[in-house]
Symmetry: C2
DNA sequence: TCGACGTTTAGACAATCGTCGAAATGTTGG
DNA sequence: CCAACATTTCGACGATTGTCTAAACGTCGA
């Protein structure tokens, strides 16, 4: 599953557009856990793609926990996943992060 | 105005510098709850200061809950509180938000 | 084919979280 | 002084979360 997880028919898009309220909340929540943020940082650093098992956290927590965090990052739109045989490539979605930063700035700016 | 109150003994006070790892995590967590983010938005909107009881959420949840969120926002450094008689003035700390945005951008940028 | 490997799912558990009501604290005005 | 008000603290509750183990799934190589 390389796409998203909308549940009420509202698709969770990852264009350079604005984030829906739901996706904005999902991104904020995804960034709130230090371990998850660390994983995201690693994915963002290795621009391109890397499999789950290459994450440095892979030997700090169980595979199930990694999978859980990956799913949450994907649901929020911060990363995309691409199956490559046995592996799953993790791709950072910078557009989502940028949209989050924009909305955060905008919705807390004095002229809002 | 740009320098924090010199001799108050207020807990969290930081310049427009970098956030510590702990404060970065605290800000991320503080922003992760929609209601708390809404409260922060209201505080940021009324640039200057407003008391807790003036928050629009004040009639949606109990006073205890408001107080809890206020404390979390204050602990993270996103707002400051100033007692004004019976009231507590809430002051948005834009420098903290800006520092958070900067660190978020920087730590997820390709050249990190 | 079969077994090893990467990943996901299911189920469970403790910790944390958002919320509440009630009581306490502190402050102002009559 | 006292009553009303703003806020905080306390203790509790259900929901969510991060984590685990065990099992299942899917894919490759020998």
């Amino acid at each position: 599953m390389t796409s998203e997880h909308g549940q009420d028919g509202e698709p969770v898009a990852q264009e350079s557009h604005e984030l829906s309220d739901r996706q904005f909340a999902a991104v904020a929540k995804a960034l709130a856990d230090p371990r998850r943020f660390g994983i995201l940082g690693e994915i963002a650093a290795s621009e391109g793609a890397l499999p789950c098992c290459a994450l440095s956290d892979a030997d700090k927590v169980s595979a199930a926990t990694i999978s859980h965090h990956i799913k949450e990052l994907e649901t929020s739109g911060l990363i995309a996943t691409v199956r490559k045989g046995r592996f799953v490539e993790l791709v950072f979605q910078r557009t989502t992060l940028d949209a989050y930063l924009r909305r955060l700035s905008r919705s807390l700016s004095p002229t809002s």
